[in-house]
């Protein structure tokens, strides 16, 4: 049995009298009249009477929600739904603007090939922020509209207050209501069927905050400035110390780095470099070149070779044609005229608005200068590139490079051979297309 719910209505529980003892001896004034009811129906009927009498500063207390009590008390529809709607729309707008500004204006980069301002991709965040702001606002606004949190309320001193969260109902009419008149109110509530009523007094002034709170409050406020001060110091001063690295992950690895002097290596053999040149007289595995003409297109003196170091036959030419079509025709065209699809596109862009695009066209193999180049030089161009063309050594193995060179020669010959030197059959074959 809860000792606070006393059997006799006259005795007040000890904790209440103790509270009253602490009341600073300040003046007590009439706060409200509280009337008790023992059924929800009685309560509802009484509420209707109070409502009809025109009171404004009053409330009813029930241990459970009573359906229909809003109407009986004349409580109007809350404005909370409108506040939540506003918050939801605000959230959605924030989500939209945030994503638009960050993705399309502030730091645009292509994500998954989607446009910078990409509405479908933005929907989840917009949706989430709408819900988030709606939900948080609903909770916060609901508390605020109920004037909560309230750390103290005079009703806490009411001896029978505990019953009103258990098995009784109450109506409280506050003295500050403009229609309040003690006798009239008591008569009204009694006439509406209350089983008891009590007059509640409360100090006219709230008890002052204990002095300690002031000190603690000032100290706490000053303490919150300390982290801010540290942050400000870090922000506006320079320091030689390395930055504080809290989550190490795998950031500090005990390994040798290529472009950094490594002390351990220096102490081992005097050279602090982790990537060294091969020692004198050694060749790395796979780097041995037996046939220099084959690999470099040059002889010992460094001159370009003028004859093929491989056997040039139909198979080589076919291979060369296939490889040429794969690697070279994009820029140089299938006829080697320098007008491959890349060239066409690039000239079109340069003509129609590529921003200041300068395009050097790929070489036309029938250019006399290139016709005069020895095969070794052609080979070198394939392997190592020339001007804007990058070398294809990494993609094309040695044999294939020579095949391409053979095919290039074939293309050159095909386009520079004089018509007169063709036999009749050859001329017919060409003309029949």
């Amino acid at each position: 049995m809860d000792s606070r719910i006393s059997q006799t209505d006259g005795d007040e529980p000890r904790w209440i009298s103790e509270l009253k003892d602490h009341d600073d001896n300040s003046n007590q004034e009439l706060y409200a009249v509280v009337a008790e009811y023992d059924t929800p129906d009685a309560l509802m009927a009484a509420c209707e009477q109070v409502r009809d009498a025109g009171f404004k500063d009053w409330d009813s207390i029930t241990p459970f929600p009573v359906h229909g009590i809003d109407e009986s008390m004349g409580i109007k529809q809350s404005i909370l739904p409108w506040i939540v709607l506003g918050a939801g729309l605000t959230g959605g707008t924030i989500g939209l603007l945030l994503q638009w500004w960050t993705n399309a204006i502030a730091y645009p980069f292509i994500i998954s090939g989607k446009p910078f301002f990409s509405l479908p991709a933005n929907i989840p965040v917009i949706f989430e922020l709408t819900i988030l702001l709606s939900a948080f606002t609903a909770v916060g606004a609901m508390l605020a509209l109920n004037l909560l949190p309230a750390f103290y309320h005079p009703l806490f001193r009411h001896p029978r207050m505990a019953r009103y969260s258990s098995d009784r109902f109450a109506i409280v009419i506050e003295a500050k209501d403009r229609l309040f008149d003690r006798e009239k109110v008591e008569a009204l509530l009694k006439g509406a069927g209350s089983v008891g009523h009590e007059v509640l007094f409360a100090p006219e002034k709230r008890a002052p905050l204990p002095k300690v709170f002031h000190g603690v409050g000032i100290l706490a406020t000053l303490l919150t400035l300390v982290p801010l001060a540290y942050i400000a110091k870090a922000r506006f001063t320079k320091s030689e110390d390395p930055r504080i690295h809290i989550i190490q992950d795998m950031d500090m690895q005990p390994k040798f780095k290529a472009q950094v002097p490594n002390e351990l290596l220096g102490s081992l053999w005097g050279d602090a470099r982790a990537s060294l040149l091969p020692m004198e007289g050694t060749i790395a595995r796979g780097e041995f070149v037996e046939d220099e003409a084959l690999h470099y297109g040059q002889d010992e003196s460094g001159n370009w070779v003028t004859s093929f170091p491989v056997e040039v036959d139909q198979a080589l030419l076919e291979r060369g044609r296939q490889r040429f079509d794969i690697y070279c025709s994009v820029c140089h065209g299938h006829a080697g005229d320098g007008n491959g699809s890349v060239n066409q596109r690039a000239t079109a862009l340069a003509r129609f608005g590529g921003k200041g695009m300068a395009w050097a066209p790929p070489a036309n193999f029938t250019d006399p200068r290139i016709v005069a180049q020895p095969v070794g030089e052609l080979y070198n161009t394939v392997a190592n590139g020339k001007n804007n063309m990058k070398g294809y050594a990494a993609q094309i193995p040695v044999e294939d490079r020579w095949a391409i060179v053979a095919y290039v020669r074939a293309l050159q010959k095909a386009q520079t051979v004089p018509v007169d030197s063709l036999t009749d059959e050859q001329r017919d074959a060409l003309g029949s297309n």
Partner: protein, 418 residues
């Protein structure tokens, strides 16, 4: 709780004659509209268009009836009391499952009688029926054997559909006839029996609607798939069923039935379900769109690529605004949900949008290059819906229009929303 102690007498349980007459008229109108649709198909639109329009109308009606079934199962599994007063109205729609199954029969007959020697128009609808399409279909399809050989073939398809119909038939019959039986016996155990069975039947329903939707609608485009398909159809169906329910409730009351039984709070709750499923449908529809759009892989993107050009983009935009944005704002307010004319307006609006949704699903498979005239589809959809609703009303007229001896009826009659 201030309960009103409503007592129902014999009269309150009978359907008024005018309402029964309306049922007959709706049935007649349904037949007429269906015939008009079919006639238009044969004369103007062409058989292929007619078949696709038929499937559109079938999808429209099927989702509504199936939405009713799951609504009913949910009422039982939650032991909900608010809807007991209107459950009989919902059950009348679910009771029409055999009629819905009957509407499938022409389709099944066409499929069953088709063969490579004598192909009929159904070969142009369900392309996978045609062996030359299957064999000529792109060789890069990695699971061609599984998709066509194992799953999409005539025999298995027919067996599956029959299977779904058997399940749906028995589900509908169990939950509607037990409810009606309780009118006589007043046996509480009937309620317990329905509650107990509803739980395992919900996953069975989920599987059934998923595969039925897959077979009827997704197989129209054999390359494409969406794992959220079943949920999508469920969402649209539940939404549309609640619209039909709201309109039926108003119709009943207009004819003087259930005036003591149905409160504003019941409309409010049906309106809440409509609102909730507008949001749910939108969520699912957008989920389906976002994943496919973002990945942009060729085998999935065809669905949305087709629906964003050649005029179909207007239908898609209509769905965004008409099925999501506008009804969401419209149904937000509790006052709208408690005001019968406003609720009726949104119920009709959403039913139209559900039709547009089904049209948008089915018809691009008929013609992706322009939006065909919708008249055949509209006539058939309206016809089927009229048939189902009319037959539902007529069938309900022979029984009590309220679940009179349901143990939770009292709670439902006194149901209060805050």
């Amino acid at each position: 709780m201030a309960s009103h102690g409503i007592e129902l007498n014999e009269n309150d349980l009978r359907m008024p004659a005018s309402l029964r007459g309306l049922g007959g008229k709706l049935l007649g109108a349904g037949v007429l509209l269906t015939l008009i649709g079919v006639a238009l198909g044969f004369t103007q639109a062409g058989l292929k268009h007619l078949m696709f329009a038929y499937i559109t109308a079938l999808a429209f009606t099927m989702t509504i009836v199936l939405g009713g079934l799951i609504w009913l199962l949910i009422q039982h599994v939650f032991r909900a009391s608010w809807a007991v007063a209107i459950r009989r109205i919902g059950e009348s729609i679910v009771r029409m499952m055999p009629l819905l199954i009957l509407l499938f029969v022409p389709l099944l007959l066409l499929i069953a009688t088709s063969s490579p020697e004598s192909p009929n128009v159904i070969y142009k609808v369900f392309k996978w029926l045609d062996p030359s399409y299957v064999s000529g279909d792109a060789d890069f399809l990695p699971n061609k054997q599984v998709v066509y050989g194992g799953y999409l073939n005539k025999g298995f398809f027919l067996i599956r559909l029959v299977g779904y119909f058997v399940i749906l038939f028995f589900l509908a019959r169990f939950f509607t006839s037990n409810s009606v039986k309780q009118d006589e016996t007043g046996d509480v155990n009937t309620t317990r029996k329905m509650e107990k069975l509803s739980a395992p039947m919900i996953p069975l329903f989920a599987l059934t609607i998923t595969f039925l939707g897959l077979d009827l609608l997704m197989s129209l485009d054999p390359h494409w798939f969406s794992t959220i398909w079943g949920v999508y159809l469920f969402a649209g169906g539940m939404l549309s069923f609640n619209c039909v329910l709201a309109l039926l409730m108003m119709t009943y009351q207009k004819h003087g039935a259930l005036t003591k039984v149905i409160r504003t709070d019941h409309y409010h709750d049906v309106g809440k379900l409509m609102f909730a499923f507008v949001i749910f449908w939108s969520y699912i529809a957008f989920s389906q769109y976002l994943l496919i759009w973002y990945a942009h892989i060729p085998e999935e993107i065809t669905f949305f690529a087709k629906r964003q050009e050649n005029g179909w983009e207007w239908i898609s935009v209509t769905l965004i605004f008409g099925h999501f944005a506008v009804p969401l704002l419209g149904l937000l307010s509790k006052h709208v949900k408690r005001h019968k004319p406003a609720l009726a307006f949104w119920a009709v609006w959403l039913l139209v949008m559900h039709f547009v949704d089904m049209f948008w699903i089915v018809m691009p498979n008929y013609d992706a290059h322009h939006v065909p005239l919708p008249f055949v589809a509209i006539a058939l959809a309206l016809g089927f819906l009229s048939l189902i609703v009319g037959a539902a009303i007529k069938s309900a007229s022979s029984k009590s229009i309220v679940a009179a001896r349901d143990p939770r009826l009292g709670e439902s009659l006194a149901y209060h929303n805050v």
